[in-house]
Protein backbone atom coordinates (compact mmCIF):
# COMPACT_ATOMS: atom_id res chain seq x y z
CA UNK A 1 0.00 0.00 0.00
CA UNK A 2 1.32 3.43 -0.82
CA UNK A 3 0.77 6.63 1.12
CA UNK A 4 1.54 10.33 1.07
CA UNK A 5 4.29 11.72 3.25
CA UNK A 6 4.80 15.32 4.27
CA UNK A 7 8.48 16.00 3.63
CA UNK A 8 8.68 19.49 5.09
CA UNK A 9 7.99 23.15 4.47
CA UNK A 10 9.02 24.47 1.06
CA UNK A 11 11.22 27.17 2.65
CA UNK A 12 13.12 24.53 4.63
CA UNK A 13 14.29 22.81 1.43
CA UNK A 14 15.71 25.71 -0.61
CA UNK A 15 17.17 25.25 -4.11
CA UNK A 16 20.30 23.08 -3.99
CA UNK A 17 19.26 21.31 -0.80
CA UNK A 18 17.44 18.06 -0.16
CA UNK A 19 15.63 16.03 2.48
CA UNK A 20 15.89 12.30 3.03
CA UNK A 21 12.66 10.48 3.84
CA UNK A 22 13.10 7.00 5.38
CA UNK A 23 10.11 5.40 3.65
CA UNK A 24 9.75 2.44 1.31
CA UNK A 25 12.34 -0.27 1.04
CA UNK A 26 15.38 1.98 0.55
CA UNK A 27 14.28 5.49 1.49
CA UNK A 28 13.65 8.45 -0.83
CA UNK A 29 15.65 11.65 -1.34
CA UNK A 30 13.64 14.77 -2.14
CA UNK A 31 15.70 17.36 -4.02
CA UNK A 32 15.05 21.00 -4.78
CA UNK A 33 16.40 21.55 -8.29
CA UNK A 34 16.12 25.23 -9.19
CA UNK A 35 12.79 25.52 -7.39
CA UNK A 36 11.32 22.26 -8.67
CA UNK A 37 11.17 19.17 -6.49
CA UNK A 38 12.34 15.71 -7.50
CA UNK A 39 11.96 12.54 -5.41
CA UNK A 40 14.52 9.80 -6.01
CA UNK A 41 14.61 6.21 -4.73
CA UNK A 42 17.76 5.69 -2.67
CA UNK A 43 18.88 2.78 -4.84
CA UNK A 44 21.31 3.22 -7.69
CA UNK A 45 20.23 1.33 -10.83
CA UNK A 46 23.90 0.52 -11.46
CA UNK A 47 24.78 -1.62 -8.43
CA UNK A 48 22.21 -0.78 -5.79
CA UNK A 49 24.30 1.82 -3.97
CA UNK A 50 22.79 4.39 -1.59
CA UNK A 51 22.32 6.96 -4.34
CA UNK A 52 20.90 9.71 -2.13
CA UNK A 53 24.10 9.82 -0.06
CA UNK A 54 25.77 11.17 -3.20
CA UNK A 55 26.76 14.75 -3.72
CA UNK A 56 25.36 17.11 -6.33
CA UNK A 57 27.26 18.73 -9.16
CA UNK A 58 26.55 21.15 -11.96
CA UNK A 59 26.37 19.97 -15.55
CA UNK A 60 29.85 20.27 -17.09
CA UNK A 61 30.17 20.61 -20.84
CA UNK A 62 33.31 20.83 -22.93
CA UNK A 63 33.67 21.90 -26.54
CA UNK A 64 37.41 21.33 -26.61
CA UNK A 65 40.15 20.15 -24.23
CA UNK A 66 40.86 22.47 -21.29
CA UNK A 67 37.75 24.53 -21.93
CA UNK A 68 34.57 23.75 -20.10
CA UNK A 69 31.38 25.40 -18.96
CA UNK A 70 29.38 24.59 -15.86
CA UNK A 71 25.68 25.13 -15.35
CA UNK A 72 24.64 27.46 -12.55
CA UNK A 73 22.98 24.88 -10.34
CA UNK A 74 23.51 21.32 -9.15
CA UNK A 75 21.32 19.26 -11.48
CA UNK A 76 23.51 16.17 -11.29
CA UNK A 77 23.32 13.59 -8.50
CA UNK A 78 26.42 11.39 -8.29
CA UNK A 79 26.26 7.98 -6.60
CA UNK A 80 28.87 7.48 -3.86
CA UNK A 81 29.61 4.03 -5.29
CA UNK A 82 31.37 4.30 -8.67
CA UNK A 83 30.33 7.88 -9.31
CA UNK A 84 27.50 7.23 -11.78
CA UNK A 85 25.80 10.54 -12.54
CA UNK A 86 22.08 11.13 -12.99
CA UNK A 87 20.29 14.25 -14.15
CA UNK A 88 17.71 15.08 -11.49
CA UNK A 89 15.56 16.89 -14.04
CA UNK A 90 14.68 13.77 -16.06
CA UNK A 91 16.25 10.94 -14.06
CA UNK A 92 18.50 9.81 -16.91
CA UNK A 93 22.06 8.61 -16.41
CA UNK A 94 24.67 10.82 -18.05
CA UNK A 95 26.09 7.72 -19.73
CA UNK A 96 24.85 4.16 -20.07
CA UNK A 97 21.12 4.71 -20.62
CA UNK A 98 19.97 3.74 -17.12
CA UNK A 99 17.31 5.71 -15.34
CA UNK A 100 16.67 6.38 -11.67
CA UNK A 101 13.25 5.85 -10.18
CA UNK A 102 11.46 9.16 -9.64
CA UNK A 103 8.41 9.45 -7.41
CA UNK A 104 5.65 11.99 -7.55
CA UNK A 105 6.25 14.99 -5.36
CA UNK A 106 3.97 18.03 -5.11
CA UNK A 107 3.65 21.26 -3.21
CA UNK A 108 0.43 21.90 -1.28
CA UNK A 109 -0.20 24.74 1.16
CA UNK A 110 3.51 25.49 1.38
CA UNK A 111 4.34 21.89 2.18
CA UNK A 112 6.34 19.42 0.07
CA UNK A 113 4.40 16.15 -0.19
CA UNK A 114 5.80 12.85 -1.43
CA UNK A 115 3.28 10.52 -3.07
CA UNK A 116 3.05 6.85 -3.80
CA UNK A 117 5.83 5.34 -1.71
Amino acid sequence: MTRSHVVGRVEDIPPGSSKFVPVGKFGVGVYNVDGEFRAVTNYCPHRGGPLCVGKRYPVIESKEPYEFETSGSDEILKCPWHGWEFDLRDGMAEVGGKRIRLHTVRVADGMVVLEGV
Binding site: N42, G49, C52, V53
Partner: protein, 425 residues
Protein backbone atom coordinates in the same frame (compact mmCIF):
# COMPACT_ATOMS: atom_id res chain seq x y z
CA UNK B 1 16.56 -12.78 15.88
CA UNK B 2 14.96 -13.67 19.19
CA UNK B 3 16.93 -14.59 22.29
CA UNK B 4 15.70 -18.12 21.93
CA UNK B 5 17.09 -18.41 18.40
CA UNK B 6 20.40 -17.05 19.58
CA UNK B 7 20.66 -19.72 22.27
CA UNK B 8 20.41 -22.39 19.61
CA UNK B 9 22.61 -20.69 17.02
CA UNK B 10 25.72 -22.69 16.18
CA UNK B 11 28.87 -21.39 17.83
CA UNK B 12 30.89 -21.48 14.62
CA UNK B 13 30.30 -20.14 11.12
CA UNK B 14 31.75 -21.57 7.89
CA UNK B 15 33.58 -18.84 5.97
CA UNK B 16 31.71 -17.94 2.81
CA UNK B 17 33.06 -14.47 1.89
CA UNK B 18 36.73 -13.42 2.01
CA UNK B 19 37.41 -9.86 0.88
CA UNK B 20 41.01 -9.74 -0.33
CA UNK B 21 41.33 -5.97 -0.53
CA UNK B 22 40.32 -3.50 2.16
CA UNK B 23 42.14 -0.24 2.85
CA UNK B 24 42.31 0.93 6.44
CA UNK B 25 43.80 4.34 7.19
CA UNK B 26 45.03 5.96 10.41
CA UNK B 27 42.70 8.30 12.26
CA UNK B 28 45.34 10.98 12.00
CA UNK B 29 48.94 11.54 10.96
CA UNK B 30 49.91 11.48 14.65
CA UNK B 31 48.49 7.99 15.09
CA UNK B 32 50.70 6.75 12.26
CA UNK B 33 53.85 8.67 13.19
CA UNK B 34 53.94 7.06 16.63
CA UNK B 35 55.16 3.99 14.78
CA UNK B 36 57.60 5.74 12.45
CA UNK B 37 61.27 4.81 12.92
CA UNK B 38 63.99 7.38 13.43
CA UNK B 39 65.81 9.07 11.84
CA UNK B 40 63.02 9.26 9.28
CA UNK B 41 60.40 10.62 11.63
CA UNK B 42 62.56 13.61 12.57
CA UNK B 43 63.97 14.02 9.11
CA UNK B 44 60.69 14.12 7.23
CA UNK B 45 57.96 14.91 9.74
CA UNK B 46 59.33 17.82 11.76
CA UNK B 47 58.62 20.78 9.51
CA UNK B 48 55.98 20.75 6.78
CA UNK B 49 54.89 17.34 8.00
CA UNK B 50 51.29 17.71 6.84
CA UNK B 51 52.59 18.16 3.31
CA UNK B 52 54.42 14.82 3.22
CA UNK B 53 51.32 12.65 2.77
CA UNK B 54 50.17 15.04 0.08
CA UNK B 55 53.41 14.86 -1.85
CA UNK B 56 52.14 12.19 -4.21
CA UNK B 57 49.54 14.64 -5.40
CA UNK B 58 52.25 17.11 -6.32
CA UNK B 59 53.91 14.53 -8.52
CA UNK B 60 50.75 13.48 -10.26
CA UNK B 61 47.97 15.23 -12.11
CA UNK B 62 45.43 13.32 -10.13
CA UNK B 63 41.84 14.12 -10.90
CA UNK B 64 40.19 16.49 -8.47
CA UNK B 65 36.80 15.99 -10.02
CA UNK B 66 35.62 14.11 -6.98
CA UNK B 67 35.40 10.43 -7.85
CA UNK B 68 35.09 9.44 -4.23
CA UNK B 69 33.35 12.52 -2.89
CA UNK B 70 30.31 10.52 -1.87
CA UNK B 71 32.33 7.92 0.04
CA UNK B 72 34.08 10.50 2.23
CA UNK B 73 33.35 14.00 3.38
CA UNK B 74 30.61 14.93 5.84
CA UNK B 75 27.94 12.23 5.82
CA UNK B 76 29.64 10.21 3.06
CA UNK B 77 28.75 6.53 2.72
CA UNK B 78 32.03 5.30 4.26
CA UNK B 79 32.67 8.33 6.51
CA UNK B 80 32.65 7.21 10.16
CA UNK B 81 29.90 9.08 12.05
CA UNK B 82 32.31 10.06 14.82
CA UNK B 83 34.79 11.63 12.43
CA UNK B 84 37.95 10.54 10.64
CA UNK B 85 38.36 9.57 7.01
CA UNK B 86 36.77 6.56 5.30
CA UNK B 87 38.46 3.39 6.55
CA UNK B 88 39.71 4.91 9.83
CA UNK B 89 37.19 3.42 12.28
CA UNK B 90 37.53 -0.37 12.84
CA UNK B 91 34.02 -0.87 14.21
CA UNK B 92 32.31 1.18 11.51
CA UNK B 93 34.32 -0.62 8.82
CA UNK B 94 33.39 -4.02 10.29
CA UNK B 95 29.78 -2.97 10.42
CA UNK B 96 29.67 -1.92 6.75
CA UNK B 97 31.58 -4.92 5.41
CA UNK B 98 30.82 -7.79 7.79
CA UNK B 99 27.19 -6.91 8.54
CA UNK B 100 25.87 -4.95 5.55
CA UNK B 101 27.90 -6.96 3.02
CA UNK B 102 28.02 -10.30 4.83
CA UNK B 103 31.82 -10.60 4.67
CA UNK B 104 33.54 -13.10 6.97
CA UNK B 105 37.20 -12.14 6.60
CA UNK B 106 38.94 -8.98 5.42
CA UNK B 107 42.51 -8.67 4.18
CA UNK B 108 43.84 -5.24 5.09
CA UNK B 109 46.17 -3.77 2.50
CA UNK B 110 47.24 -0.32 3.69
CA UNK B 111 48.20 2.27 1.10
CA UNK B 112 49.52 4.81 3.58
CA UNK B 113 50.56 7.66 1.35
CA UNK B 114 52.35 5.93 -1.49
CA UNK B 115 55.76 4.25 -1.52
CA UNK B 116 58.92 6.23 -1.10
CA UNK B 117 60.09 4.69 -4.33
CA UNK B 118 63.11 6.91 -4.84
CA UNK B 119 64.73 6.07 -1.48
CA UNK B 120 65.18 2.38 -0.49
CA UNK B 121 66.07 3.16 3.13
CA UNK B 122 63.10 5.44 3.67
CA UNK B 123 60.81 3.00 1.85
CA UNK B 124 61.86 0.17 4.15
CA UNK B 125 61.30 2.35 7.24
CA UNK B 126 57.91 3.43 5.87
CA UNK B 127 56.87 -0.22 5.44
CA UNK B 128 58.03 -1.02 8.94
CA UNK B 129 55.93 1.84 10.33
CA UNK B 130 52.85 0.65 8.43
CA UNK B 131 53.13 -2.90 9.81
CA UNK B 132 53.63 -1.74 13.36
CA UNK B 133 50.66 0.64 13.03
CA UNK B 134 48.44 -1.98 11.36
CA UNK B 135 49.17 -4.56 14.05
CA UNK B 136 48.58 -2.14 16.92
CA UNK B 137 45.43 -0.42 15.66
CA UNK B 138 43.66 -3.03 13.50
CA UNK B 139 44.94 -6.57 13.96
CA UNK B 140 45.30 -6.70 17.74
CA UNK B 141 43.18 -5.81 20.74
CA UNK B 142 39.67 -4.40 20.78
CA UNK B 143 39.62 -3.53 17.06
CA UNK B 144 40.00 -7.19 16.08
CA UNK B 145 38.06 -8.75 18.97
CA UNK B 146 36.00 -10.64 16.39
CA UNK B 147 39.07 -11.97 14.52
CA UNK B 148 37.69 -10.93 11.13
CA UNK B 149 40.67 -8.68 10.28
CA UNK B 150 43.80 -10.01 8.61
CA UNK B 151 46.63 -8.02 7.12
CA UNK B 152 49.47 -7.98 4.64
CA UNK B 153 53.06 -7.56 5.81
CA UNK B 154 53.97 -4.48 3.83
CA UNK B 155 57.43 -4.81 2.31
CA UNK B 156 59.49 -2.55 0.12
CA UNK B 157 59.46 -3.30 -3.60
CA UNK B 158 62.80 -1.53 -4.04
CA UNK B 159 64.63 -2.98 -1.03
CA UNK B 160 64.23 -6.80 -1.09
CA UNK B 161 66.79 -7.39 1.69
CA UNK B 162 64.76 -5.25 4.09
CA UNK B 163 61.62 -6.90 2.77
CA UNK B 164 62.84 -10.32 3.87
CA UNK B 165 63.67 -8.96 7.35
CA UNK B 166 60.19 -7.46 7.63
CA UNK B 167 58.58 -10.78 6.66
CA UNK B 168 60.63 -12.59 9.32
CA UNK B 169 59.55 -10.03 11.88
CA UNK B 170 55.79 -10.54 11.37
CA UNK B 171 55.35 -13.98 9.78
CA UNK B 172 54.39 -15.72 13.04
CA UNK B 173 51.76 -13.11 13.88
CA UNK B 174 48.41 -14.89 13.57
CA UNK B 175 46.69 -12.06 11.68
CA UNK B 176 49.41 -11.28 9.10
CA UNK B 177 48.55 -13.60 6.22
CA UNK B 178 50.64 -12.46 3.27
CA UNK B 179 53.73 -10.60 2.18
CA UNK B 180 52.37 -7.45 0.63
CA UNK B 181 54.30 -5.53 -1.98
CA UNK B 182 53.41 -2.54 -4.07
CA UNK B 183 53.29 -3.47 -7.76
CA UNK B 184 55.24 -0.41 -8.91
CA UNK B 185 58.69 -1.89 -8.74
CA UNK B 186 61.83 -0.99 -10.63
CA UNK B 187 62.08 -4.47 -12.15
CA UNK B 188 59.57 -7.31 -12.52
CA UNK B 189 58.99 -9.56 -9.51
CA UNK B 190 60.67 -12.63 -11.00
CA UNK B 191 64.01 -10.80 -11.14
CA UNK B 192 66.72 -12.45 -9.01
CA UNK B 193 66.94 -9.37 -6.79
CA UNK B 194 63.63 -10.47 -5.18
CA UNK B 195 65.04 -13.82 -4.11
CA UNK B 196 65.36 -12.88 -0.40
CA UNK B 197 61.71 -11.78 -0.27
CA UNK B 198 60.44 -14.81 -2.21
CA UNK B 199 62.46 -17.19 -0.02
CA UNK B 200 61.23 -15.66 3.24
CA UNK B 201 57.63 -15.61 2.01
CA UNK B 202 57.71 -19.24 0.88
CA UNK B 203 59.50 -20.33 4.04
CA UNK B 204 56.52 -19.17 6.10
CA UNK B 205 53.99 -20.57 3.65
CA UNK B 206 52.61 -17.09 2.95
CA UNK B 207 51.37 -15.85 -0.42
CA UNK B 208 52.90 -12.80 -2.03
CA UNK B 209 50.11 -10.26 -2.52
CA UNK B 210 50.59 -7.15 -4.58
CA UNK B 211 48.55 -4.01 -5.08
CA UNK B 212 48.67 -1.38 -7.81
CA UNK B 213 49.42 2.14 -6.82
CA UNK B 214 50.67 4.70 -9.27
CA UNK B 215 48.76 7.61 -10.67
CA UNK B 216 49.01 9.49 -13.92
CA UNK B 217 52.12 11.31 -15.01
CA UNK B 218 55.75 10.50 -14.52
CA UNK B 219 55.08 7.99 -11.76
CA UNK B 220 53.14 5.69 -14.01
CA UNK B 221 55.24 4.42 -16.86
CA UNK B 222 53.55 2.20 -19.42
CA UNK B 223 55.19 0.33 -22.31
CA UNK B 224 54.64 3.47 -24.38
CA UNK B 225 55.49 6.19 -21.88
CA UNK B 226 53.45 8.25 -19.49
CA UNK B 227 49.67 8.72 -19.40
CA UNK B 228 48.17 12.20 -19.14
CA UNK B 229 45.04 11.39 -17.17
CA UNK B 230 44.04 9.32 -14.20
CA UNK B 231 41.33 7.71 -16.36
CA UNK B 232 44.12 6.40 -18.60
CA UNK B 233 46.20 5.11 -15.74
CA UNK B 234 43.61 2.79 -14.23
CA UNK B 235 42.95 0.67 -17.34
CA UNK B 236 46.69 0.68 -18.07
CA UNK B 237 47.38 -0.95 -14.71
CA UNK B 238 46.69 -4.37 -16.22
CA UNK B 239 49.94 -4.09 -18.18
CA UNK B 240 51.86 -3.84 -14.91
CA UNK B 241 50.35 -7.14 -13.85
CA UNK B 242 50.87 -8.80 -17.22
CA UNK B 243 54.57 -8.00 -16.89
CA UNK B 244 54.83 -9.33 -13.31
CA UNK B 245 52.93 -12.53 -14.17
CA UNK B 246 55.12 -13.11 -17.23
CA UNK B 247 58.27 -12.55 -15.21
CA UNK B 248 57.25 -14.86 -12.35
CA UNK B 249 56.41 -17.63 -14.82
CA UNK B 250 59.54 -17.44 -16.96
CA UNK B 251 62.00 -16.86 -14.12
CA UNK B 252 60.90 -20.23 -12.75
CA UNK B 253 59.86 -18.78 -9.39
CA UNK B 254 57.22 -21.44 -8.71
CA UNK B 255 59.58 -24.27 -9.65
CA UNK B 256 61.89 -22.96 -6.91
CA UNK B 257 59.07 -22.27 -4.42
CA UNK B 258 56.37 -24.85 -5.09
CA UNK B 259 54.25 -23.74 -2.15
CA UNK B 260 54.28 -20.04 -3.12
CA UNK B 261 51.14 -18.27 -4.30
CA UNK B 262 50.94 -14.86 -5.96
CA UNK B 263 47.86 -12.65 -5.50
CA UNK B 264 47.36 -9.74 -7.93
CA UNK B 265 45.07 -7.14 -6.35
CA UNK B 266 43.18 -4.18 -7.88
CA UNK B 267 43.96 -5.29 -11.43
CA UNK B 268 40.70 -7.10 -12.16
CA UNK B 269 40.61 -10.49 -13.80
CA UNK B 270 39.14 -10.37 -17.30
CA UNK B 271 42.57 -10.04 -18.98
CA UNK B 272 44.01 -13.25 -17.55
CA UNK B 273 42.77 -15.63 -20.26
CA UNK B 274 44.38 -14.00 -23.31
CA UNK B 275 47.63 -13.60 -21.38
CA UNK B 276 47.63 -17.31 -20.50
CA UNK B 277 47.03 -18.26 -24.14
CA UNK B 278 49.86 -16.08 -25.33
CA UNK B 279 52.31 -17.22 -22.66
CA UNK B 280 51.55 -20.83 -23.57
CA UNK B 281 52.13 -20.21 -27.24
CA UNK B 282 55.44 -18.37 -26.75
CA UNK B 283 56.61 -20.98 -24.25
CA UNK B 284 55.87 -23.79 -26.71
CA UNK B 285 58.02 -22.04 -29.31
CA UNK B 286 60.81 -20.59 -27.17
CA UNK B 287 61.03 -22.64 -24.00
CA UNK B 288 64.73 -23.62 -24.51
CA UNK B 289 65.47 -20.06 -23.42
CA UNK B 290 63.86 -20.67 -20.02
CA UNK B 291 64.60 -24.26 -18.98
CA UNK B 292 63.73 -23.27 -15.40
CA UNK B 293 60.08 -23.07 -16.52
CA UNK B 294 59.25 -26.74 -16.80
CA UNK B 295 55.46 -26.57 -17.06
CA UNK B 296 53.02 -24.80 -19.31
CA UNK B 297 52.52 -21.20 -18.16
CA UNK B 298 48.75 -21.65 -17.94
CA UNK B 299 49.24 -24.62 -15.59
CA UNK B 300 51.59 -22.61 -13.41
CA UNK B 301 49.16 -19.70 -13.29
CA UNK B 302 46.20 -21.90 -12.43
CA UNK B 303 48.07 -23.49 -9.57
CA UNK B 304 50.00 -20.55 -8.16
CA UNK B 305 48.18 -17.33 -8.94
CA UNK B 306 45.09 -15.53 -7.73
CA UNK B 307 43.52 -12.50 -9.38
CA UNK B 308 41.30 -10.28 -7.27
CA UNK B 309 38.10 -9.30 -9.07
CA UNK B 310 37.83 -5.59 -8.34
CA UNK B 311 37.29 -3.59 -10.50
CA UNK B 312 34.96 -6.15 -12.05
CA UNK B 313 34.13 -5.15 -15.61
CA UNK B 314 30.58 -4.90 -16.87
CA UNK B 315 30.36 -5.86 -20.52
CA UNK B 316 26.83 -5.65 -21.87
CA UNK B 317 26.23 -9.38 -21.70
CA UNK B 318 26.89 -10.90 -18.31
CA UNK B 319 27.60 -14.20 -20.09
CA UNK B 320 30.57 -12.60 -21.82
CA UNK B 321 32.13 -11.65 -18.49
CA UNK B 322 31.56 -15.12 -17.05
CA UNK B 323 33.09 -16.78 -20.12
CA UNK B 324 36.13 -14.50 -19.97
CA UNK B 325 36.59 -15.28 -16.30
CA UNK B 326 36.22 -19.02 -16.89
CA UNK B 327 38.76 -18.92 -19.71
CA UNK B 328 41.09 -17.33 -17.17
CA UNK B 329 40.59 -20.25 -14.80
CA UNK B 330 38.19 -18.44 -12.47
CA UNK B 331 37.21 -21.56 -10.55
CA UNK B 332 40.83 -21.81 -9.38
CA UNK B 333 42.46 -18.43 -9.96
CA UNK B 334 40.01 -15.71 -9.03
CA UNK B 335 39.26 -14.25 -5.62
CA UNK B 336 36.78 -11.64 -4.48
CA UNK B 337 37.95 -8.17 -3.48
CA UNK B 338 35.94 -5.04 -2.68
CA UNK B 339 38.53 -2.22 -2.48
CA UNK B 340 36.47 -0.65 0.32
CA UNK B 341 36.37 2.28 1.13
CA UNK B 342 37.29 3.62 -2.29
CA UNK B 343 34.71 4.94 -4.71
CA UNK B 344 35.23 2.04 -7.12
CA UNK B 345 34.25 -0.43 -4.37
CA UNK B 346 32.65 -3.70 -5.51
CA UNK B 347 30.07 -4.86 -2.93
CA UNK B 348 30.28 -8.56 -2.04
CA UNK B 349 26.63 -9.33 -2.59
CA UNK B 350 26.66 -7.78 -6.04
CA UNK B 351 29.77 -9.69 -7.12
CA UNK B 352 28.37 -12.96 -5.77
CA UNK B 353 25.22 -12.43 -7.87
CA UNK B 354 27.24 -12.05 -11.05
CA UNK B 355 28.86 -15.47 -11.04
CA UNK B 356 27.39 -18.96 -11.53
CA UNK B 357 26.52 -21.28 -8.65
CA UNK B 358 29.13 -23.78 -9.81
CA UNK B 359 32.12 -21.63 -8.81
CA UNK B 360 30.62 -18.91 -6.62
CA UNK B 361 32.05 -20.42 -3.43
CA UNK B 362 35.47 -20.75 -5.06
CA UNK B 363 35.48 -17.09 -6.04
CA UNK B 364 33.99 -15.69 -2.86
CA UNK B 365 35.98 -17.77 -0.35
CA UNK B 366 37.63 -21.08 -1.27
CA UNK B 367 40.30 -19.77 -3.65
CA UNK B 368 41.34 -17.18 -1.06
CA UNK B 369 41.40 -19.71 1.78
CA UNK B 370 43.67 -22.03 -0.22
CA UNK B 371 46.12 -19.16 -0.78
CA UNK B 372 45.87 -17.57 2.68
CA UNK B 373 46.58 -20.78 4.54
CA UNK B 374 46.59 -19.08 7.94
CA UNK B 375 42.89 -18.26 7.69
CA UNK B 376 40.71 -20.93 9.35
CA UNK B 377 37.86 -22.02 7.06
CA UNK B 378 35.50 -21.92 10.04
CA UNK B 379 35.33 -19.00 12.45
CA UNK B 380 33.72 -18.41 15.83
CA UNK B 381 30.31 -16.75 15.86
CA UNK B 382 30.63 -13.14 17.06
CA UNK B 383 28.59 -10.02 17.82
CA UNK B 384 28.58 -8.98 14.15
CA UNK B 385 26.65 -12.14 13.25
CA UNK B 386 23.91 -11.14 15.65
CA UNK B 387 23.61 -7.51 14.63
CA UNK B 388 20.19 -6.83 13.16
CA UNK B 389 20.05 -3.71 11.03
CA UNK B 390 17.54 -2.14 8.69
CA UNK B 391 18.47 -1.69 5.02
CA UNK B 392 21.87 0.03 5.09
CA UNK B 393 20.73 2.49 2.44
CA UNK B 394 18.10 3.98 4.72
CA UNK B 395 20.60 4.29 7.53
CA UNK B 396 23.20 5.87 5.22
CA UNK B 397 20.60 8.28 3.85
CA UNK B 398 19.52 9.34 7.34
CA UNK B 399 23.12 9.80 8.46
CA UNK B 400 23.87 12.03 5.50
CA UNK B 401 20.66 14.01 6.07
CA UNK B 402 21.51 14.66 9.72
CA UNK B 403 24.96 15.91 8.78
CA UNK B 404 23.65 18.18 6.03
CA UNK B 405 21.00 19.59 8.37
CA UNK B 406 23.62 20.25 11.06
CA UNK B 407 25.94 21.89 8.52
CA UNK B 408 23.16 24.22 7.34
CA UNK B 409 22.26 25.08 10.94
CA UNK B 410 25.91 25.62 11.87
CA UNK B 411 25.70 22.94 14.58
CA UNK B 412 27.93 20.29 12.97
CA UNK B 413 30.30 19.22 15.76
CA UNK B 414 32.56 16.59 14.19
CA UNK B 415 36.14 17.81 13.87
CA UNK B 416 37.63 16.39 10.69
CA UNK B 417 40.59 18.74 10.53
CA UNK B 418 42.99 15.92 11.35
CA UNK B 419 41.37 13.29 9.13
CA UNK B 420 43.76 11.22 7.10
CA UNK B 421 44.15 12.20 3.46
CA UNK B 422 44.50 9.20 1.23
CA UNK B 423 44.29 8.44 -2.40
CA UNK B 424 40.94 7.31 -3.73
CA UNK B 425 41.81 4.13 -5.60
Amino acid sequence: MSTDDHTHAPSTVPVSVVDCDVHPVPKSLDEFLEHYPEPFRSRYFAKYREEVPMSFLLYTPHSNTGGNAGMGGPGGYAAPPNGGGPGSDPDFLARQLCVDNGTDYLVMNPLNFRPRHWDPEWDAAHCSAINSWLAATWLEGEANRHGRFFGGIQVSAINPASAAIEVEKWAEHPAFVQSYIIADSHVAFGHPQYEPLLAATAKHNLPLGTHLYRHAGIRSMTPVGFPSYHVETLPNWIFTYMCHVTSLVFEGVFERYPNLKFVAIEGGCEWVAPLMWRLDRQWEELREEVPQTRRRPSEIIREHMRFATQPLCEPRGRGDLIRAMEWGGAEETMVFSSDYPHYDFDPAKWVAQQVPDSWRHQLMAANALSAYTKMPPVRPRDHLDDMEVPDFRIEAGERRDEVMTALRAGTYQVDNSKAWIESID
